[in-house]
C-alpha cells in the first residue's frame, strides 16, 4: 500500500510491516498502527510514522547504541501482550524528542517501545527502573558510550 507520511513523502509499505500497538501509546491511545521508515543516510535514527494520521510521526533510535548497559526486564504482562516466545524476537526502540540540535535532544529511556518482530505486536512499556530518565540528553549518553 502507498502511505502518505509527514516528512518522508509518499512511501510504499508492505502491510506486513505495520506495527500493531493494541492500546496505542500514552497520549496517543487511538493510534494503533505505525510503520518504521528509514532516514536516508542515517542509520542511527528511524521514523515511526502513524498509519492513521499522516501528520503524526516520531523519531526512534536503538537505545543500546547510545547507552552503555541498557538493561530492561520485560514484565510478564508485556510478554503476554506481545506473545513473545523467544528473546530473539524482541526489538527495543527509544523515542527521541528532537530539539534544535542533536546535542540538546533527549531520549526516553524510561518508556521504551518493545516490538515482537515475529508478529509485529508492539507496546510502549514504562520501566520501574529508577536509573532511566524520560528525558535523557542524547549527548551525555553518547559520551558515556
Amino acid at each position: 500500500m502507498n502511505l502518505k507520511t509527514a516528512y518522508s513523502g509518499e512511501v510504499e509499505i508492505d502491510t506486513g510491516e505495520i506495527l500493531k500497538f493494541e492500546h496505542g501509546i500514552p497520549g496517543f491511545e487511538a493510534e494503533t498502527e505505525f510503520v518504521l521508515i528509514p532516514i536516508e543516510d542515517n542509520e542511527e535514527f528511524t521514523v515511526l510514522q502513524s498509519i492513521k494520521t499522516e501528520a503524526l510521526a516520531f523519531i526512534v533510535t536503538n537505545p543500546y547504541n547510545i547507552t552503555v548497559n541498557y538493561n530492561i526486564e520485560l514484565e510478564v504482562s508485556t510478554v503476554h501482550a506481545l506473545q513473545i516466545k523467544d528473546q530473539k524476537e524482541v526489538a527495543v526502540f527509544a523515542v527521541v524528542s528532537l530539539k534544535e540540535t542533536i546535542a540538546e535532544s533527549t531520549v526516553n529511556l524510561k518508556a521504551p517501545i518493545i516490538l515482537n518482530t515475529s508478529n509485529k505486536k508492539a507496546k510502549q512499556i514504562i520501566l520501574n527502573n529508577e536509573d532511566y530518565n524520560i528525558r535523557q540528553p542524547l549527548s551525555s549518553e553518547s559520551q558515556k558510550g
Partner: protein, 99 residues
Amino acid sequence: MKTTIFDNHYHQKVKRGDEMLVLSRKAGETIWIGEDIEIVISEVKGEQVKIGIKAPRSIDVVRGELRHDVSISNTESVLRNMDIFKTTKLIQQKKNKKL
C-alpha cells in the same frame, strides 16, 4: 499474582462530565474489579493512602503521574521537521572519517 504497594499523595482532579465510580473505604477494606483484581486500602494516614493491588501479572500497574509524564513526553516528541538530519548528515560523515 503480584502485589504492588505504593503511596499516592497526589490529588486526582476529576473533570466534570467524566464518569467515575467513587466508593468510600476504610483501612483494611477492599474493592474487587472484575474477577481477578483486588484493591486493598492498607493504610490511611493524613493525606496519604497506601493501596495494595492484587492483580494477575498480565495487568500493568503504573503510577498515574508517571504515565502522565510519558504522555507529555510523547506529545513533546512528535516530529515537527526533519531539518536536523540535514546537518547531522555532515556530522555523521565527519565521524565516519575519523573512524
